[in-house]
């Protein structure tokens, strides 16, 4: 399963003190959630955003859950979801997720040549008309840190 990075602005109105936001982050962490949080005192009051690392791929559902959970931790309504991204640990699911983000489907095969991993991504030729191959190639190489070969069928 992929890991989503869900960004949540804890207090878009900017009317809550930093120590209350810090206490909410501690509450989230103490419940086992992985949270990336900045030093709130060094951020503009309206832009105090944290990131929750959550397993799953349904961004809408994860964002809704995260904002609700943050509101409960804060004891006040108002947290707003921001952009969502995905971590890559170089798995097949991560590769397929990158391909899907370009609007494509694919299959993934892995092989080793000496000590170098080679990942072959097979894509239906009919789907690739509007996707520059170089963009897909660099996105996949970054997500996998392996040699990527794109094949069309």
């Amino acid at each position: 399963m992929r890991t989503a990075v869900i960004r949540v602005n804890l207090n878009p109105a900017g009317d809550l003190p930093g120590d209350r936001l810090a206490a909410a982050v501690e509450d989230l962490r103490s419940s086992g959630l992985e949270v990336i949080a900045p030093d709130f005192l060094r951020l503009p009051a309206h832009g105090r955003e944290i990131e929750l690392l959550l397993p799953g791929e349904d961004i809408a559902a994860l964002s809704a859950w995260a904002t609700d959970r943050c509101a409960r931790a804060l004891g006040a309504p108002g947290p707003a979801a921001g952009a969502a991204t995905f971590l890559s640990r170089g798995t097949d699911e991560d590769a397929l997720g990158v391909v899907r983000a370009f609007g494509l489907t694919a299959t993934v095969e892995r092989a080793w040549n000496s000590d170098q991993e080679i990942v072959t991504i097979t894509i239906p030729r009919a789907e690739v008309h509007r996707v520059p191959e170089s963009r897909l190639q660099t996105a996949l190489e970054a997500a996998l840190n392996a040699e990527v070969r794109i094949r069309y069928v």
Binding site: V5, R7, I36, P38, R42, L43, P44, G47, E51, L53, G82, A83, A84, T85, F86, L87, S88, R89, G90, D94, G97, V98, A101, F102, Q116, E117, S134, T138, A139, E141, A142, A143, L144, N145, A146, E147
Partner: protein, 114 residues
């Protein structure tokens, strides 16, 4: 194990030959992170780029913007695309995810798990 903990003091990093493009191991305020040395934009050597914060709108600051979370983002030297070191992602291009690796410190040794 890639190196001793004190070889990467806070605010610094080192690149190790892991995977096709190498991996940069960063010490961000005492927390270690590892990210592939490859920019998803055009394949630049990401980990040779500068480490900085990110700019946000800040009405009270001179110029209407300020830099926050200093030291938590790396910028590719080719075209200045910036990525959060902890997650290997950028909110600007959600389809891009740079491979990151779990890092732990054990007996003052930095261990990257591939």
């Amino acid at each position: 194990m890639v190196c001793a903990e004190d070889e990467i003091p806070p605010g610094t990093h080192k690149v190790f030959p892991i995977g096709r493009h190498g991996v940069g191991v960063y010490n961000v305020n005492g927390a270690f992170y590892a990210i592939a040395n490859y920019c998803p934009h055009e394949g630049g050597p990401l980990c040779t780029g500068r480490v900085h914060g990110r700019s946000v709108v800040s009405a009270d600051a001179p110029g209407g913007a300020s830099v926050v979370r200093d030291g938590e983002f790396v910028y590719c030297p080719w075209h200045q695309w910036g990525f959060e070191i902890a997650t290997g992602t950028t909110a600007v291009k959600p389809e891009w995810s740079i491979r990151t690796y779990p890092v732990r410190v054990l007996d003052h040794k930095v261990i990257v798990t591939a």
